[in-house]
């Protein structure tokens, strides 16, 4: 197929004749990258045919043969997807069982979240410290007050009526914003010189990393109430959020620890030499450098947290995936699994892929900053 020197990293192979005319260049590229030998050519054709067959099966199903409106599955007579199911249930997928008249409240919460994210992510907007403060303190408190209500004439909407994308975002955003700071604390604790603190942090981290997230959820929802004062009825959503934050904090701690270990000892010694204490050393010298080194790891943990939020369906919370599964069991729309899962997949894929693109952008920015 190829020569010995290039196979395992064949991507780096230069394309000869790249100085010629566009057509000649294209032909040369085709010959090099698709038809280097007859076996290579057969392989290329087979792979391209397979990709084509998959696209040929999905695109007409999702677009050309699809039914876009209707009142029940019976209206979907075409051979394609039944998007009428999704449009009929769309508001439930977004808000869950949140009362129809009160849906402006989650709308405001969504707007606040978008504003906070734009503030945090667009490099040109200044005052990132305040953006962090906004995301970690203002947003959670405001969102909770707004969604729960019970003051200034707002009707109380108990959390068992929150659902759909709203619930998924609540779980994901609160998990992401709080697991990183807790993770940093656990990472510092694990590298601390105080043995008792270090053992405590090691024990916690290794425990969380050793058990499935699902059992942590079971622990938070079935087991934890036994240890709370009798008579209190803890909110399952709050317990799930606590479970997510601490579980993911353990993973964040290991990622951050990798960054801490990668810093040369001289950084600590230099900070000591100019008279910095522990916290000033950490917050002004060590952490800013360590966190930069581990951006990909942090984002990977974030993406896995986002995907893990779907597990709350097992303990009976109606996140996006669970509410779509519930919608499929509606007799009017029986048999719409493929459409429902397609939409859930699309939403999760866009969020996860967006996060990984953002991570690559940050890495590139840090790399540029390093060079100049």
């Amino acid at each position: 197929m190829t020569d010995a020197a290039t196979l395992p990293a064949g991507r780096a192979r230069p394309v000869p004749g790249s100085a010629g005319a566009p057509l000649a260049r294209a032909l040369s590229w085709l010959r090099q990258r698709l038809f280097a030998s007859w076996r290579d050519g057969l392989l290329s054709l087979a792979v391209l045919a397979m990709l084509g067959a998959i696209a040929w099966a999905i695109v007409p199903w999702a677009l050309f043969d699809a039914t876009w409106s209707g009142a029940s599955r019976a209206d979907c007579t075409g051979s394609g997807a039944c998007w009428a199911f999704v449009s009929a249930k769309a508001s439930q997928f977004v808000y869950g069982f949140y009362p129809r008249a009160e849906r402006w409240r989650p709308d405001i919460a969504f707007a606040l979240l978008v504003a906070g994210l734009v503030w945090l992510m667009v490099p040109r907007i200044p005052a990132k410290v305040y953006a962090g403060f906004f995301m970690m303190i203002v947003l959670p408190v405001a969102t909770y007050l707004l969604l729960h209500g019970g003051f200034a004439g707002l009707a109380v909407v108990p959390s068992d009526q929150w659902g759909g994308l709203l619930l998924t975002l609540i779980l994901a955003v609160s998990g992401i914003t709080f697991s990183l700071p807790f993770g940093v604390l656990f990472a510092l604790g694990r590298r601390s010189r105080m043995p008792l603190l270090r053992w405590f942090c090691i024990g916690f981290i290794e425990f969380c990393r050793g058990v499935p997230f699902l059992t942590v959820l079971f622990m938070a929802i079935v087991m934890l109430p036994f240890f709370l004062p009798s008579g209190t009825k803890p909110d399952p959503l709050a317990l799930a959020v606590v479970g997510i934050i601490f579980y993911e904090a353990a993973y964040m701690a290991e990622v951050v620890r990798g960054g801490l270990q990668a810093l040369p000892k001289g950084q600590y010694e230099a900070a000591m030499a100019i008279g910095f204490g522990y916290w000033r050393t950490m917050f002004h010298i060590i952490l800013p450098q360590a966190v930069r080194k581990v951006v990909p790891g942090v984002v990977n943990t974030t993406i896995s947290l986002l995907k893990n939020t779907t597990l709350v369906m097992v303990v009976g919370l109606f996140d996006l995936l669970n509410i779509v599964s519930a919608g499929v069991s509606d007799p009017l729309w029986a048999g719409s699994q493929a459409e429902g899962y397609f939409i859930v997949g699309l939403v999760f894929w866009l969020m996860s892929f967006g996060l990984s693109c953002y991570s690559r952008a940050i890495e590139a920015r840090f790399a540029r900053a390093e060079r100049t």
Partner: protein
């Protein structure tokens, strides 16, 4: 100063623990419960659809616990095998010089790893397996393996002395491994070319065959056959198990593919060029230069991924496969109310396996570290 902080930490933990134990005492008293593992000897009273060790509804919860563990381990092992095969293929395909191949592998990775594992499992179970035909019209692969909406049927090895056969296979495996090690060791010391695979394979097959032949145990292969509306014979992988294994293999293969790609790319390009310069071909370069160096980078994250597969197998509960979480943490808590004991036992099982594998990884790292002069 340090001791003051640590004292405060211990005091805070002790305070929390004493409050929690006090609350626990009140809560248990209010519900008329007490802690203890005596419930394990109670009769479970429910059926389990799939089990590797014998079970009836009149067995006790300890048996349920064991069935949960074996079912979890079965899914984990199958998912590890298939995701490793698929993952290596994806990882090597990503590095292919063939543009179509590397693009296809890249697309696969980017689509699959950005979707939740639970979604993969639900799609496989509720959409893909439902679309398979009924047993009467099952898709046949060489008249031995059948795919239908009742699950996947594969030929099974049947014997009237399973203990003997298992022992013989284990002994054969150990003997084959020992022979392989000594032959490759001889090859390395003497510099001669020795084919170590063939003798090892022969020993692997010969030991069980001899054991069966000498003991006169009955042995046969049961091939699934359509009888009426369903199949008879063979080994049935129930739809839940099939969906779970396939979905987990697809999902984890994307991550393993990335690990394999990164580990091969981590081998310095000069190594490959040097290998080509001394006249090694494609396979020799891969076998003697690239793989030994890549494995050192690959194995720690790969075993981490295997642990993720073990932990991810708990998602079985979403489609009703009776794994440890589904059958023990789910049904048994509902029936006995022993939430604390059962959650603790479940976590202890996962934790024990994780720590064991973690220790093995550390041992491996220690053994394969580069010893510099």
């Amino acid at each position: 100063m340090g001791w003051l902080y640590q004292g405060l930490l211990v005091a805070a933990l002790a305070f929390l623990a004493s409050v929690a134990v006090g609350n626990l005492h009140d809560n248990l008293a209010a519900r008329g419960l007490k802690l203890g593992f005596d419930f394990l000897w109670q009769e479970a009273g429910f059926e389990i659809a799939f089990h590797l060790i014998p079970y009836t509804a009149s067995d006790n919860y300890w048996r349920v616990f064991l069935i949960g563990i074996t079912n979890t381990l079965l899914v984990t092992v199958l998912a590890i095998v298939f995701s490793t095969i698929l993952g290596f293929a994806v990882g090597i395909a990503q590095l292919s010089g063939n543009w179509a191949m590397s693009r296809a592998a890249r697309i696969y990775v980017e689509i699959v790893r950005n979707l939740p594992q639970l979604l993969h499992i639900l799609i496989l179970y509720n959409v893909a397996l439902r679309a398979l035909p009924a047993p009467r019209a099952a898709i046949s692969l060489g008249d031995a393996v059948y795919l239908s909406n009742r699950g996947i049927l594969v030929p099974a090895l049947t014997t009237d002395r399973p203990g003997l056969l298992a022992l013989a296979i284990l002994v054969g495996l150990a003997a084959a491994l020992a022979l392989f090690r000594s032959l490759t060791g001889y090859a390395e010391r003497s510099g001669r070319r020795v084919n170590a695979w063939l003798p090892a394979l022969a020993v692997l097959l010969l030991v069980p065959a001899l054991a069966i032949g000498l003991s006169g145990a009955g042995i046969g292969v049961s091939v699934p056959q359509l009888k009426g509306f369903n199949f008879a014979g063979g080994w049935v992988l129930v739809p839940e198990l099939s969906a779970l294994v396939i979905a987990m293999a697809i999902y984890n293969a994307a991550f393993i593919g990335e690990l394999v790609r990164a580990s091969i790319e981590s081998v310095n390009k000069g190594q490959r060029e040097a290998s080509a310069a001394i006249g090694f071909g494609w396979w020799q370069t891969l076998r003697f230069i690239v793989i030994p160096q890549a494995v050192r980078v690959l194995l720690p994250p790969l075993s981490n991924q295997y642990l993720n597969i073990l932990k991810g197998s708990s998602l079985a509960v979403a489609i009703g496969y009776p794994d440890l979480v589904g059958v023990f943490t789910g049904i048994s808590i509902n029936q006995t109310g022993r939430a604390i004991e059962i959650v603790a036992m479940t976590m202890a099982v996962y934790l024990a396996i994780s720590l064991l594998i973690g220790a093995l990884i550390n041992l491996f790292n220690h053994m394969t570290r580069i010893v510099e002069r």
